[in-house]
Subunit: 391 residues, 4 copies
């Protein structure tokens, strides 16, 4: 509870980071860059920031990246950085979905570790190919399912796996937004454009953008394996080419039941991602918009409010905490945690030692395959009038 | 916002009320009695408070009901009260579900108006028979879906129907509890016993006890008609004879989509009934556990907090409000509203005048049939591996 | 946590209740009437409902009170009811403040028990005279500091007195409203008129209407005795004749410190009464607008959410609870608790037995004197530039 | 509401930053470092991280600062950095309070811009001397009253100053913590040690650590000038040498009234800083622990929930926003905003242009003097039995 003094670990050099995507007009690229800086383990030194070479170069200038390391394409970047003595240690891919696969492949083939935004790919074949490539190359891969970086999500994971809820029975996950309540893509807004274009986002809209986060978080926290899912995907906005609302029922192996709701047209919701876990002897509730609280309800007892940094938290949560309780951390810190963990993994590799076990929680390529499989199964169910589809 | 002085309407005599069920050891009977007293429109004068005659009589004594009007059975009560010059105006039936049908029939056939707890009956055949009988007799019938009595639920109804949300798209309703997380019925606890006994509760558990409330509220607020439902009913507690968790997907006519979740085994939830309505231009959110707030989110604007009794509420909400904003009303007042409305309908009938239109919102026998149909369709879907069942 | 069946106690006759004030256009009278009905221990049989005889009579008709028991004045009522064989057992005084003293005196002198709204009187002399009269007559007296009737306030009292917080250090109490942010009294609104008229309300506005509640609740929960107070009373609305905002610092015997804030001009606050208690080993927080929760924070542990009717509550809270957890009770039920408790005290007296100890918590005339003393000391401090005034 | 693409401004070089304090075992230094990195406008290149030279050097190594720029004292650092061609542009002082003055003076005299933690100094004489020195040197000075960096605090400022609340009447500010509920300083905990040592923290404890934040925020948002204050300072923990709880009444010029509560012994509160502003036509409420919401209550209308990044926010709030609504920003981003603003001011100076007006909101040395004056007046009042002390 008290303010603790900081422990300054002996620091290795910063990792050299390259970026694919994230040029001017992008959204998530800036988030990744802040996330990479918060814990001071990276320096951004190269990038193919846009598929438009001029934009890539002007973006590089704005980011203080040397002109000669502003590339016209990820292919060129992979090749030339791999050839440099001071080439990047790791690339982060923050493009629309359809670029994830070719870009990740290019860097893996060039021997460079990869951080990649989610969903991993736009189809299961690509996802599995990428997983095979990661295995073959032995390189490190981080999939930025950023909500797994929140300390209290890690606390939930520890508690669930330690049996604090008993055998899991019911899981409720929802991720509603409202920004696509109208046909925003018709206005040319860049974020809306690619996220509703099947050629760039894959065959899913709300389900791919939001539902995968919900699915991933359930898997991260519980470890439960899905047995079958039944989905009702819907497009409310006329003329939209992908779903903007998704209802998914899940049956997990062992008998637990789940509901996932993703929506981009629920007015009043910005990023109201919320998950609830119920077992035979307790419940847990966490909401992304106020992520510094976790409600734990042991059956028959008074619910407790767990606070990030506060009393009674476990090692995983505390390892992901930067500020004392009551000084809220947020989205950027959660995102930064993945970067910090991955830096530890890469640094340990460089230093030929075992990484801190806490750094192994970051989602990897297998989680990416799992998420793409979830999307594929949901689409199949949706096209079969919500029939249960085995996982 | 200011404290308003009360307007004392010229009062008619109090209505003479009889009760079936609600003797010692019952739960909901006491709630009905308080609800009937709050607005001073009834006096309890007769009852068949228990199927055990001795208990019926001792309960009557405790309730200051004259010994000669404490009956051994509802059949006897219906007959003898109908024959009295000062016989009851109306009976309220607060028994386990399986008694609703025969008791309501007996009083209707005796020419006595009926208030009945929900669900209406344990099967659709009985429900339809009762509806026919109400029509034939021309008597008044009130089904105590009590959540429709909350002022802000009525406000939501007015807003939705006036188009404040635009065309409805998504409806989320959930009613989790935790009191049946263990096999409480094995302990002999009376409430658990009948609610998990198909012979008394009908073929459903959580869905009948909770899910019908959720379904009814959606119907009450929106007027949307279901087109088809797909249900995943589950029993988590071993040996239980009815469902204790239900996931229901709904497709409404016109294209709206809904999710209903009912559970009796979600630790940390007491009566966490919550509904959310989303349309093309706005959203609404209401939660029973803090019922004096309604959040209205017009698309693209700041969400507003509507407070019971506060600024900008409509006539229906204000007509159901007893205390100024900030002095919370709760479950008993919501319940009382149905009694008050029904008293107005009966009194208007006695006085041969039109009732206050606000008093016509109370659910009736048709809503009861609708709710029982919902249960029947959900059970059918559940037994068909969650296939969509047309409504 | 489970829904418990009701226990119907053997019921005595209902107590015969008279009312002074509460006629058409009044506010709090209706609240008292509902409160008296909720637990079915009273019947309203007589009243001097207004200082305007015609209004008193028409109000009586609206309330189903027999015409011959609708009185023109409280003096006449006290005399004639005392003379009736079936005269009232108890009177409830719900007038503007300045009538409390003469009316209470009249009924006490007529041998009739008294329920009286707060503050007890408009000055300390009257308050002490009334206390002496209660003692002399040996009659029962209930002061309706209604917030003491909330179950979780009683729970807080039990916990504080059992040492759950350790030695008390800091107490924060606030009661802001906004309805007098403008000069509403100029519009003739009846509630505003008398509450801002020193001749009717006494020399205080917000402090008397709201601050006394805050002060009383602190005293009720903690039993701490004030040593000195320093007050900054202020009128924000031009031309208003009493304070509409009050800041009071309190030093309690033993060293605890308190702050009380009362306001009638804090926009956004309806009845946002909130109290927080902090001791050496824990804290407690309760807010009237969501009164079914009490937050308990043991030092160094996770805060717990205590729910009315929920796990781990004590006897006092449970004795004041009518519905299961999650079915919110509110203002009217809290108010009703005082009526129920007082009925038990009067009934025990009639039956010549000891009352249930739980029924002894209702505030009495001594609490009234204490509250009036608080107001007198605050006014004295306010007139002395907020100097500390010994209590 | 929609996710907007990022605009990458043409970036200047990063500013060279030095740090005084913040070595291993410190707390706030790490916060400053993260804050300086988030927007990528600084690089940390030098430091006197501890008064213990060995610790300063080992800390430098951990922070990837070159060994030759790890100094044994701030005096040496000021001298040698001023002499370097690539010397620091700006120093940040993150030591215990008593070092603020001599360190800031040393760097100002060396011609180096200063960022300094609050409170400015431990006494008013020093504060005024520092202000004079800033004026004389013409250098830039930033006082890290970090809560002024939160976007919604800036929104509140804009709204209040634009008259959204009307004339201000009542201001409530509170900042309770619980970490010093026991005599933690006796354990040797470093943070507790210096914060309760008058030689290091000045004559105040909770008031200096927390109360100044509350006071500063009121001043920042409202611009109101205090006329007089009356304080009741108290030490609850036996043997502690400074106050651990403070109640302060404030009278502002023009008639507004305020209350400030600061506490380090209120169990259940981590950093529960909360401010409320009430004027003739509206109210505003903001709480640091959930800083992404601001409640605006126009008198007589429904309260609105303003969300960071959401609908209807002004330029100042939006300029301080990095992520879309619903992706919470927190303490570190608020803190970073001061660094970003100050970078803009310094960069504009380097580039000989006018800074973005939004960057001028950061508190400066005058705010520091104001805060120290607040402390001095409060101590004077406290020693005079809470008498009003003119400001």
């Amino acid at each position: 509870m008290a303010i603790e003094g900081e422990k300054l670990k002996s620091a290795p050099r910063r990792l050299r980071l390259g970026m694919v995507g994230g040029g001017e007009g992008a959204f998530i690229g800036g988030v990744h860059r802040i996330a990479s800086r918060i814990d001071d383990r990276y320096e951004l030194v190269a990038g193919a920031f846009s598929s438009d070479p001029a934009l890539s170069r002007s973006s590089a200038a704005g980011l203080l990246v040397a002109p000669e390391r502003a590339y016209d394409s990820f292919a060129e970047m992979a090749k030339r950085e791999a050839a440099r003595r001071d080439g990047i240690d790791v690339v982060t891919i923050v493009t629309p979905n359809h670029v994830h696969f070719p870009a990740a492949r290019a860097f893996l083939e060039a021997g460079i570790h990869v951080i990649c935004d989610k969903p991993l790919t736009t189809n299961l074949t690509d996802a599995e190919a990428l997983a095979a490539l990661v295995e073959k190359t032995g390189l490190e891969f981080c999939l930025t399912h950023n909500y797994t970086g929140y300390p209290l999500v890690r606390q939930a994971r520890d508690m669930v796996r330690a049996g604090a809820l008993g055998e899991l029975r019911v899981i409720q996950a929802e991720y509603p937004q409202d920004w696509l309540s109208t046909k925003l893509e018709a206005s040319g807004q860049k974020q809306a454009l690619w996220r509703t274009d099947p050629a760039q986002s894959g065959p899913v809209g709300s389900l791919g953008d939001l539902g995968t986060h919900a699915y991933n978080l359930i898997r991260f926290v519980t470890g439960l394996e899905p047995e079958a899912i039944a989905a009702d995907l819907h497009r409310f906005v006329e003329g939209r080419r992908v779903d903007d609302n998704a209802h998914v029922m899940v049956r997990f192996k062992g008998g637990a039941r789940g509901l996932i709701w993703a929506s981009q047209c629920a007015p009043g919701n910005a990023n109201a991602f919320k998950v609830r876990f119920y077992g035979g002897i307790g419940g847990l509730e966490w909401a992304q918009e106020n992520p510094n609280l976790l409600i734990h309800s042991p059956l028959g007892e008074q619910p407790r409010i767990l606070t990030r940094g506060g009393a009674g938290l476990g090692a995983a949560a505390n390892a992901a905490t930067r500020t004392p309780p009551g000084h809220p951390e947020g989205y950027l810190e959660g995102f930064a945690q993945l970067y910090r963990d991955f830096a530890e993994r890469l640094t340990a590799r460089i230093e030929k030692r075992k990484p801190d076990p806490m750094a192994l929680l970051t989602p990897g390529v297998a989680d990416g395959v799992d998420g793409v499989r979830f999307l594929a199964r949901a689409v199949e169910s949706g096209m079969n009038n919500s029939a249960w589809v085995a996982f």
